[in-house]
């Protein structure tokens, strides 16, 4: 049934959960929300007849419970599709794709190329967002729990690498690049992409049960991808439209 979409139309806006993580999302000095993920969502909802979106920044850990509790209508925050997540929410087709990167000290003193390298060096620590893709990749690569440091946000991770508290901080490539750009610190270096880590794509995440809305979203998304408007929105932020169009939700949700 279309009731969810009708409801959004009549109230005139959809509630988005976004992360505090450029360039997926950005907050301008005047408080206006932009960034690749919300821009795409805003455009599609406009086409669906929902005039506006109301974006609120949320912790990663609070997004899925917030969606389940009906706090948000959709999460557009760079939540990468993975089988477990696909079980918890209803994803749209892929939107933003990115590989994984690591931030390390200049010259990569410990010589990391992959998460396995971190696992092998018994004194090495790696930082990652709690509950994020990178945390899981590191754990799966065999880095023990106590050497995977849960870092609340990107700036904290950057600071911890600068201060030598962790040896590497891992986020998607574009996020790391954005951090680097803002920090402009010549003593840091980015390793991208991390070897052996797949390229992930996110999608707009809907509550289980809102599949009709999701399907309507997908239709508009596909149209935009075809017309090239999709690329026009996300490429200025550094994302590749081709990557998103080369894969599907079903593939990503089935992976591993």
């Amino acid at each position: 049934d279309d009731s969810k979409l009708e409801q959004l139309k009549s109230q005139g806006f959809a509630r988005l959960a976004i992360a505090n993580e450029p360039p997926y999302t950005a907050v301008a000095a005047d408080g206006k929300v932009s960034g690749a993920a919300p821009d795409v969502a805003r455009e599609i909802f406009k086409r669906l007849g929902v005039a506006d979106v109301a974006a609120s920044i949320s912790e990663y850990g609070a997004m899925i419970p917030g969606l389940q509790a009906g706090r948000f209508d959709v999460v557009t925050a760079g939540l990468f599709m993975k089988p477990e997540r696909c079980a918890a929410v209803a994803y749209s087709e892929p939107v933003l794709c990115d590989a994984e990167a690591m931030l390390v000290k200049k010259g990569n003193p410990k010589g990391f190329k992959s998460y396995e390298d971190v696992a092998k060096d018994t004194s090495a620590t790696i930082g990652a967002p709690g509950g994020g893709t990178e945390e899981k990749l590191a754990l799966n690569a065999g880095v023990p729990r106590e050497r995977v440091i849960v870092v609340p946000d990107g700036q904290s991770g950057l600071k911890m690498v600068q201060d030598g508290r962790i040896d590497a901080y891992s986020l998607p490539v574009l996020s790391i690049n954005d951090l680097m750009k803002k920090a402009a610190d010549p003593n840091l270096e980015v390793i991208a992409p991390v070897q052996g880590a797949p390229v992930y794509c996110d999608g707009a995440a809907f509550k289980k049960g809102d599949e009709t809305l999701r399907d309507a979203f997908d239709v508009e998304l596909a149209k935009m991808k075809k017309s090239g408007e999709f690329a026009k929105i996300i490429e200025p932020y550094g994302f590749s439209a081709a990557a998103a169009m080369s894969t599907t939700r079903d593939k990503l949700c089935a992976a591993k």
Partner: protein, 219 residues
């Protein structure tokens, strides 16, 4: 969301790891708070006006601002001036400083509550300042403070989840971590709540006992 006992069993060991860190942080923080508080209380009684005023304002500042922000400050800003602390150490220092400003008030009240007549009787007995403190004032001031101090240590215990902001893997952080791994929130958070409640109820009993045992001096 239905309650899943199997899941509970699965995550319990991880949460217990967090409990250990939580308790460790509380204990270390309490010791530090007890010492810092005494320092502040004595400095504020100092006849040196500059010292007592400065310490007074600093304590007032620490007490008037959130521990969360202080923790950020200690952990992320202090390295800029060359002070690099491991997460747990930074957390314990934050807790100790913050609660030290509270315990200082307890010490102050404890000392003020010794009746003036006791100071005067000590003087009439010709005791020196040191003898008055060690034989008359402190022995009467400490026992009534014990329940109030214990109260703050329990409060501190319940604020340890803040340490997750500076990457200490205490109970709340562990719970969030497992919740994000399995996308189940009800069980971990409820368990955390139950754990805090259990400890609090036990400590209420303990507190009542402390109050009975040390609460007042019969005059």
């Amino acid at each position: 969301m239905d309650w899943d006992w199997d899941f509970v069993r699965q995550i319990l060991p991880t949460l217990i790891q967090g409990v250990k860190i939580t308790i460790l942080a509380t204990l270390l923080g309490s010791v530090l708070a007890a010492i810092v508080g005494l320092g502040i209380a004595l400095a504020r009684r100092s006849p040196n006006k500059a010292l007592s005023r400065t310490v007074g304002w600093v304590a007032e500042f620490i007490r008037g601002t959130p521990l969360l922000v202080q923790l950020y400050f200690i952990f992320y800003v202090l390295p800029d001036i060359g002070i690099l602390l491991p997460p747990l150490v930074a957390g314990v220092i934050g807790l100790g400083l913050h609660y030290g400003t509270y315990t200082a008030e307890v010490y102050r009240a404890g000392i003020d509550n010794v009746p003036r007549g006791q100071w005067e009787a000590a003087k009439a007995c010709n005791l020196s300042a040191r003898q008055t403190w060690s034989h008359i004032i402190i022995p009467q001031a400490i026992p009534p403070m014990i329940p109030a101090l214990a109260n703050y240590f329990i409060a501190m215990f319940k604020e340890t989840p803040l340490l997750s902001a500076i990457t200490v893997l205490e109970l709340m952080n562990q719970a969030k971590s497992v919740a994000n791994t399995y996308y189940r929130y009800l069980e971990p958070i409820t368990l955390v709540g139950a754990f805090f409640l259990a400890i609090s109820l036990i400590s209420v009993v303990l507190l009542r006992w402390l109050e009975r045992r040390y609460g007042k001096i019969e005059r």
